[in-house]
């Protein structure tokens, strides 16, 4: 129990960092209405670029900007594969993700690389949990603020319309290809930023660190929606809900591990949790459809 309580702030900090990635997933999965699998690659790209930039002497802010830029480029790649080469979205993401494994190895020069907090000034690291937690919160808040502004602009509206109704968007003069590419660029930029933060937190970058990132991102999005969806209607609050979803995910994982769950089965657990949460709306609907209601119940509903 004490061990769990001690682990809580760290889990929260990590949840917020992954929550930033989940916001990237939210942009593609919820706003653009596509599943972008580039994420698993771009997360590690962000981490790799940050570690290599810093160890070669660049400043922290510049390294973060470069990580964001590199992530954006991975999004551009997927976007162009889809819009210019006509490759279905899911496949385009998988192709980029696979290719990125080599690219990330190329950036790092080896499978993993350490970044010691003793030699470098870092934003977050696991030795300094409380300041990391505060910095993550500020970081997430700034990102939510910027996205709130962006999706209120004319361009942001065009992106939302594209995700909502392609025919309507085109009929109103929106270049839906451009909209899709812009959305994936922003999404993967954020994912890479999350990877860059995570690399600082754990003090290393690893080519395999993004594996399953999309699932964790989806978990955070769905948990956030299920728990806060009824209360958080405003767009900024919904993004905050996604971050909280990430926090809840990490806290739950920490609890499970503290209860003695074998860490080797963690990914299986994540996949199962996401599968169940994705299935719930479907079950609910088919259950409601197959069940014949009592007449009284229908009348009561009608009276409401």
């Amino acid at each position: 129990m004490i061990g769990f309580l001690n682990a809580l702030p760290g889990a929260a900090a990590q949840g917020i960092m992954w929550g930033i990635m989940a916001i990237g997933v939210y942009i593609t999965y919820k706003i653009l209405d596509v599943a972008d699998l580039t994420v698993d690659g771009s997360f590690a790209t962000g981490a790799a670029v940050l570690v290599v930039s810093m160890t070669s002497g660049l400043s922290l802010p510049l390294s973060m900007v470069l990580a964001f830029g590199a992530g954006s480029l991975t999004g551009l790649a997927t976007g162009l594969l889809h819009t210019k080469l006509g490759i279905p979205f899911i496949l385009a993401g998988i192709l980029t993700q696979l290719g990125l494994y080599s690219v990330n190895l190329g950036i790092l020069g080896k499978a993993n690389m350490t970044l010691s907090n003793r030699n470098y000034q870092l934003l977050v690291n696991r030795k300094d949990v409380y300041s990391s937690l505060i910095i993550s919160i500020i970081f997430a808040a700034v990102i939510i603020g910027i996205l709130y502004w962006f999706f209120g602009t004319s361009m942001g509206h065009a992106l939302r319309a594209t995700g909502c109704n392609l025919a309507m968007a085109r009929a109103n003069g929106i270049n839906t290809n451009t909209s899709q590419v812009i959305a994936i660029i922003i999404s993967n930029g954020l994912v890479a930023l999350s990877g860059a933060l995570t690399a600082q937190w754990q003090g290393s970058a690893d080519v395999g660190m993004g594996r399953g990132a999309i699932v964790i991102g989806l978990a955070a999005v769905i948990i956030g929606e299920v728990i806060f969806g009824k209360v958080f209607k405003n767009f900024a609050l919904r993004l905050a809900g996604v971050i909280l979803g990430g926090v809840i995910y990490y806290v739950v994982i920490t609890v499970v591990l503290n209860l003695g769950f074998d860490a080797n089965y963690l990914k299986l657990l994540s996949a199962s949790v996401v599968a169940v949460f994705l299935a719930i709306p479907y079950w609910k609907k088919s259950w409601q459809e197959t069940r014949v209601k009592e007449i009284k119940e229908v009348e009561e509903n009608a009276a409401d």
Binding site: T153, A161, N172, G173, I174
Partner: protein
């Protein structure tokens, strides 16, 4: 205004599903023309409208809007000249976005989508005024998700959005077909009012021959990808449904077959 010159379109060429949708289609609209379009199943009515809108390019021929050749212009660029209302009431609006957000999207048609606020306060007042005209109580529901509106309300909103930027040409593709008769009549009246007040040029496909005769100043009948009848002005005012059916049999050598038209009679 609009010129369609020798347009051909075949779907799935060389396959068993080959469909010659348009065969040497020619049509010229004058400014302010309100043309109703009727025809049997598969006559090419919707294909013609989609071709004008740029949903797909023609195999051959030219399409000009105000002497601008738009034949190879992508759909989203042509949108600057056009207002469109679809048969499916769900298709013309973004369900997850608010009424005012949808209207702001339409207000930005033909303009650059930059990093400025999508909705200005001044616009909100204009939107309210426009919605008041619909008389559906929507003017007080600017921040309601469009997905919560009924089919008729959505179609009325789509109509408003299609006309608010005063398009050079308004394309109505059986836009009342999916509505109940009462709502359909209301939306049709509204269409007529907007077209008249704004002096718009419009092409309206309908399955209802009475509506085709009652509305507009010109009527065209299509069959097998061509226009087989084109009636204007005084002559159109005197038309009856029987005239049209007889004309169809005479010109095409077939009975008029349109599932909905037969049911609607």
């Amino acid at each position: 205004m609009l010129q369609i010159k020798n347009v051909y379109k075949t779907f799935n060429p060389g396959t068993i599903n080959e469909k010659k949708a348009l065969r040497n289609l020619n049509l010229t609209l004058e400014d302010g023309d309100f043309v109703t379009v009727i025809g049997g199943n598969g006559a090419g009515k919707s294909t013609m409208l989609n071709m004008i809108a740029g949903v797909f390019p023609p195999d051959a021929g030219k399409i000009l809007i105000d002497d601008i050749d738009v034949t190879r212009l992508p759909e989203h660029k042509r949108a600057a000249y056009l207002g469109r209302v679809f048969q499916d009431p769900m298709m013309g609006t973004a369900a997850d976005m608010w009424i005012e957000e949808n209207m702001a999207l339409a207000a930005g048609r033909g303009e650059k989508r930059g990093l400025h606020w999508a909705i200005k306060n001044k616009q909100r007042e204009e939107f309210k005024e426009l919605l008041k005209e619909l008389d559906l109580g929507l003017e007080n529901r600017l921040s309601t998700k469009v997905g919560l509106l009924s089919g008729g309300q959505r179609q009325a909103l789509t109509l408003l959005m299609a006309t608010m930027k005063r398009p050079k040409l308004l394309l109505l593709d059986e836009h009342t077909a999916a509505l109940d008769p009462k709502t359909a009549a209301k939306v049709l009246e509204l269409s007529e009012k907007l077209i008249r007040e704004e002096g718009l040029t419009a092409l309206m496909i309908t399955h209802n021959m009475k509506d085709a005769i009652h509305y507009g100043n010109r009527l065209i009948m299509m069959n097998e990808g061509q226009i087989i009848l084109d009636i204007k002005g005084e002559e159109k005012k005197k038309l009856t449904v029987e005239d049209l059916l007889r004309a169809f049999t005479r010109l095409s050598g077939n009975e008029f077959v349109n599932d909905r038209a037969l049911l609607a009679k």
